[in-house]
Amino acid sequence: MRTIGTIAEREFRALVTAPLGWVIMLFFLFVSSIFFVAPLQRGFATMRLVVGNTTIWLVFLLPALTMRLLAEEKKQGTLELLMTSPVTETQVVLGKYLGVLAYYAVMLFSTLQYVFALAWVRDKTPSPFFPTYVGLFLTALTLVLLALASVRESRPLGIAAAVAAVATALCAGFAMKEMGEWGPALTGYIGLFMLGAVFLAIGVLTSGLTRNQIISWVSTAAILLFLTVLISWMSDQLPDQLPTREANADFGATFQYLFGMMLYGLTQVFKALSLQQNLENFAQGVLDLRDFVLYLSFIVASLFFAVRGLQTSR
């Protein structure tokens, strides 16, 4: 456990202290803010669009967070350091994964500013001071403390950042409640987190199969694009109804029936695998156990094969 924590901490710190991490975070904030501002200008303020539309951006952004994870370790020879220390492949993969997942959580956390801004714009809260100003201040404070804690490697600052984060979350909870969007906003965030967790796990897997970061990025983005956009599109094109069977069918009709069955089955498989479909449930405030099971199986399978890849590639 301690080893996993040590590796995760190093990975998280590398992201916070390196330009790449901040570029990805800022880009993410920029694109998600578009989906926040656009509906605002048309007179309504909601979190739903933010949740629904960021997926496609995550498809391209998150692989950039994971591409270096294992590929770089191999290339610069530090994998030799890890694998000749009393550390298992599973610990390496889990540590790296948790480190980058924590960074993604910070990315999501920083979008809480929209919640605070919305609370004010909607004019539902008694004063702009609370929760809006307080919330925005707490969000910024948390991020600054976190950056300082990482650069200085200071535990007290890290604890202060955690306290500020909890305060921010409570404040955000209050703001959501005032807006009457408590449910959808929370499930939206849970959905985005789970979706990102899947994306990152797949990224860890491809990063472990190559020593070239660009290959890792491209292949992860391609897989994610397939699992989100393409697969939904395909399942929309395919028939969503069971074919009917004619009473006295000749060979052609039977063949058509069987073919229809096959297509129907494929549609259902696509639907089940489509990560987008599930996210829409989340955005509408629906938490379905099956969605969690799907996401978790993606994560477990990806990490499992990442571990196997590390074990057999030497």
């Binding site: 080893t3 610069q76 000749t84 009393p86 490697e153």
Partner: protein, 329 residues
């Protein structure tokens, strides 16, 4: 104690090392000597658990590197050929990371880091970013990393390769300071380095061990004839005649230099140097240069070839050089 038995490793069809067997005893420095591509790195990577062997076993103080891998790895400090450094970290936090993954207890971490930084004289650079350090300093950080958990066994792959002479002296001094407290296995392709550092030397050639002996014995065996380079100011013919006439001299060879220089080969176990110097000066000539020619790894191979015909490996039918890069998936 490190026990290596019948270690064999193939890369595809190529046999990189072939039934390598040896022991490293507690507290000794063992030199692993061989030309580039002989199989030193491969052997060390297997010993440290990074590479699986095709067959054979490695036991580190009784723990098998395959069956009881974590326990074996706990006892090892390893400096790979290129120091495995995270360029974005500071020296201190890098060493802290290494100490933690080596299971150093939390409250000992900072004292262990201080000790290992002190051992390699890098304490004043503790806050430097590793990516900004010079090659010699990076190697020292690599050495500190191998020492930070105070392992009983140290495995160092060409620790002085690519450094300048001052840095080499520095690193050698550090390594000699480790004798006794640690079992050190170091690889090199330079005979004089193995002689300077190791208590015992193992010579590996094309994946096979061709000689194991104490440094003393091996050196004595190699120096079948001492060779001295001399330059004497005096009439050429007389000087040559004089040198050839000295007792104990086997052969005198004139080098193509002008003014003439000679290589004087003595009989076995004879140190000619002081006698040669005295006699030249007594003859009234000037002794401009007198230098012993250090034997090289090539001389060792020559020696082994001429004395142990039976131990010479037959050349592999497979190509000696294979592409070193693993294919990226």
């Amino acid at each position: 104690m490190v026990e290596v038995d019948n270690l064999t490793r193939k890369y595809g069809a190529m046999l990189a090392i072939d039934r390598v067997t040896f022991r490293a005893h507690d507290g000794e420095i063992l030199g692993f000597l061989g030309k580039n591509g002989a199989g030193k790195t491969t052997t060390m990577r297997i010993m440290t658990g990074f590479l699986p062997a095709s067959s054979g076993t490695v036991r580190i103080n009784g723990a098998d590197i395959k069956e009881d891998s974590l326990e074996a790895r706990r006892q090892i400090g390893y400096l790979p050929e290129t120091a495995p450094l995270y360029e974005d970290m500071s020296v201190f936090s890098y060493l802290a990371f290494c100490a933690r993954i080596r299971e150093v207890p939390s409250r000992e971490v900072s004292t262990r880091i201080e000790q290992s930084m002190k051992a390699v004289h890098i304490s004043e650079r503790r806050n430097w970013q590793i990516g900004k350090l010079s090659k010699g300093l990076r190697r020292r950080v690599g050495l500190a990393q191998a020492l930070v958990h105070n392992p009983r066994v140290l495995i160092l792959d060409e620790p002085t390769e690519g450094l300048d002479p001052e840095q080499i002296i520095e690193i050698r001094r550090l390594i000699l300071g480790l004798r006794g407290d640690h079992t050190v296995i170091l690889s090199t392709h330079i005979l004089s380095e193995a002689q300077a550092l190791a208590d015992r030397i193992i010579i590996i050639d094309r994946g096979r061990i061709v000689a194991v002996d104490t440094t003393e014995n091996l050196t004595r065996a190699v120096v079948r004839a001492q060779r001295i380079r001399v330059q004497v100011e005096g009439p050429e013919a007389a000087v040559r005649k004089h040198l050839e006439g000295l007792s104990g001299v086997q052969r005198v060879e004139r080098l193509p230099d002008e003014p003439p220089r000679y290589v004087v080969e003595s009989e076995r176990d004879t140190d000619l140097r002081s006698r040669l110097a005295d006699s030249v000066i007594n003859a009234g000539w000037g002794l401009v240069e007198l230098e012993r020619i250090e034997p090289t790894l090539e001389d060792v191979f020559l020696h082994i070839t001429s004395h142990h015909e039976d131990r010479i490996p037959t050349p592999d039918p497979t190509p000696a050089e294979a592409p070193k890069e693993e294919a990226a998936a």
